[in-house]
């Protein structure tokens, strides 16, 4: 199909999907097929659609998404490893009208930052935690994470995760759902168009709760892939999610807000 034909075709059509303006016009540095790019996009779409760019503050973690502010075109603070939720608490407590979300991987949120995560949620601090769970330390080269599945091979569990030696995979979302401060906790994925649509809805819903000042912390976990770390093609990694990972990390809402008063 030549360029000429394209132009003719488009003239008679409407644009139904384009890149949100709240993503910087720059290519990201993530590996081919990595879910980070999709989740970045979904959050920015939600912020744009909700019209809260002028009061949104993102908190970037340490990990692959440490440079998230190069892609997310909103005010951003880059937090110390594991401390994104503490940072968010600081902002949200002094400036309750700001819309604050943290963007954290499993190493950041579920290992070094477990304490900060639990206590932020336990205080019910009213911000959104976007938790990217791909069961591995991507940035440092594919080491075992707390969320790594039993038997999974990583560079620090070369023979597969032995739970007797290395502990068990941790279901952070279920754990946090036990806390009264948790308002909305859901587990989503982005490995198919259908999943992406659902994930987008969840993120938007969580941000809407925050805009409405609803009580508590929201957490959207996105069970994602790491083709490089898992040593798979993007296609294989997405299939692996369907075949293996979602058995352990079951998708869906884990805690939903109590029925809203009429």
């Amino acid at each position: 199909m030549s360029e000429k034909i394209k132009d003719n075709v488009i003239e008679s059509m409407k644009e139904v999907w384009e890149r949100t303006k709240l993503l910087h016009d720059a290519p990201n540095h993530y590996c081919p097929g990595c879910g980070h790019g999709v989740v970045h996009r979904l959050i920015m779409e939600a912020v744009e659609e909700l019209g809260v760019m002028d009061r949104t503050i993102a908190i970037a973690p340490v990990g692959c998404s440490v440079l998230a502010y190069n892609y997310l075109n909103v005010d951003t603070q880059q937090a110390a490893h594991g401390r994104a939720t503490a940072c968010a608490t600081g902002i949200k407590r002094v400036f309750p009208d700001k819309i604050v979300f943290t963007y954290q991987g499993d190493g950041d949120l579920a290992a070094i930052g477990t304490g900060e995560t639990i206590h932020a949620v336990n205080r019910g601090d009213k911000f959104l935690i976007v938790f990217i769970n791909n069961g591995i330390y991507g940035m440092t080269g594919g080491q075992m994470a707390p969320t790594t599945l039993e038997g999974a091979k990583t560079s620090t569990s070369p023979d597969g995760r032995d739970v007797d030696l290395m502990g068990h995979a941790i279901r952070i979302a279920e754990m946090l759902a036990l806390l009264p401060g948790a308002y909305y906790i859901t587990r989503q994925a982005v490995n198919s168009a259908k999943a992406v649509r659902k994930a987008k809805k969840a993120i938007k819903k969580a941000l809407q709760y925050q805009i409405d000042g609803k009580g508590g912390t929201c957490l959207v976990e996105v069970v994602s892939n790491c083709p490089s770390g898992w040593k798979m093609t993007p296609e294989e990694s997405n299939k692996y999610l369907d075949d293996e990972v979602f058995d352990f990390y079951q998708l869906g809402d884990i805690k939903v807000p109590p029925k809203e008063e009429k």
């Binding site: 009061r55 970037a60 909103v74 951003t76 880059q78 110390a80 503490a86 700001k98 304490g115």
Partner: protein
């Protein structure tokens, strides 16, 4: 309104911070600074600020990072082991150039140590403390009044230079009561508007603001370091603070800061009663350190004695200032023990020589 009150040092500091327009306090209990946290928990909400008792000192300092990054006037306070825990966060704050006030009510260490007063955190306070090349402005009060006064000054300096300011005090000053008068302070006039760089949301669609300490390109990281170093040179030029007591005719000099300076002052009085012409120089800003003032005085005295509640930390800076011109002795107690005036007098007598250099 500004009447004399009898207050604990910790409480005076807390009250001063609130009067200086504090918007957020984040802290964790540790003796001997807990009164500060407790005072904030009672007062700050009532007076328009946010108070959070964090789950750790690590969380506290990162809450400070977040709120300071969003442009708020914020602080935390702790004591030695807690201050060690905060070092990573302070390094981030220094690099990201965020204004905030830190308070370390020092206790005896190392390790869990003791809850009694100490000055064993001097190195950590003035040489950086965490990783990388950075400094904090460090102010050392020696009375309850100064605990309050330096809080106002600390916030203003933090805003002016966009950096953390540390009030380095100790358990005794935190716990003891003295009279204090809170000065008039115009919050609106003194609090800086940080909207040109703070993360507030992209108001009116303005350009994105980013708070980060990450510069992956070495060239960029060096550039950021140069910015910091330039700032530190400016501070060294403009913000040196010290006090001299009876140095005009002194032929022997004591150098001490904080609580030790109060004790050394008494030792000066005792020495003078015995006819020994002893003076005292008290560094008030520990960074920037009054190198020049000490160097100038060292040209006139026959010897110097540094007194600290440590194994000898500030004495290294005194020696740098003196640069071998006169002998610099040291007397210190450690681990929560406090030097007594008569002990200091004994040390003075060992080193004293009436020959005044001219």
């Amino acid at each position: 309104m500004n009447k004399k009150q009898l207050m604990k040092g910790n409480e005076a500091l807390a009250e001063a911070a609130i009067r200086a327009g504090l918007q957020g306090y984040f802290g964790y209990p540790i003796t001997p600074q807990s009164e500060l946290l407790e005072y904030m928990s009672r007062e700050l909400h009532k007076r328009g600020g946010a108070f959070v008792q964090a789950e750790s000192e690590i969380a506290s300092i990162n809450m400070v990072y977040g709120a300071a990054g969003a442009g708020a006037r914020v602080m935390t306070s702790t004591s030695s082991p807690g201050y060690s825990l905060m070092q990573e966060g302070i390094s981030y704050i220094a690099c990201a150039e965020l204004p905030c006030l830190l308070v370390n009510v020092v206790r005896g260490g190392p390790g869990l140590g003791t809850i009694q007063p100490s000055q064993g955190d001097y190195f950590q306070a003035v040489k950086g403390g965490g990783h990388g090349d950075y400094k904090l402005i460090v102010l050392a009060p020696n009375s309850v009044q100064e605990m309050a006064d330096f809080t106002y000054i600390g916030f203003d300096l933090a805003d002016q230079y966009r950096m953390p300011v540390l009030i380095l005090t100790d358990g005794a000053l935190g716990q003891m009561m003295e009279s204090v008068v809170f000065p008039e302070y115009d919050i609106e006039k003194n609090r800086t508007n940080h909207s040109s760089w703070a993360t507030t949301g992209r108001v009116n669609g303005r350009e994105q603001h980013v708070i980060t300490s990450l510069h992956l390109q070495s060239e960029d990281m060096e550039k950021q370091n140069q910015i910091l170093q330039k700032k530190y040179r400016k501070i060294e030029e403009n913000e040196v603070r010290f006090e001299t007591i009876q140095t005009e005719d002194a032929d022997f000099l004591l150098v001490a800061y904080g609580l030790s300076a109060r004790i050394a002052h008494k030792a000066v009085n005792l020495a003078r009663e015995e006819g020994l012409k002893v003076g005292l120089l008290r560094p008030i800003s520990l960074y920037p350190f009054p190198y020049q003032a000490i160097e100038d005085l060292s040209a006139k005295v026959s010897g110097i004695l540094t007194v600290e509640m440590s194994a000898g930390q500030m004495v290294e800076d005194v020696r740098l200032a003196v640069n071998g011109k006169v002998p610099v002795g040291f007397y210190g107690r450690m681990g929560g023990m406090i030097p007594q005036p008569d002990e200091i007098l004994e040390e003075i007598k060992k080193l004293y020589s009436p020959k005044r250099r001219q």
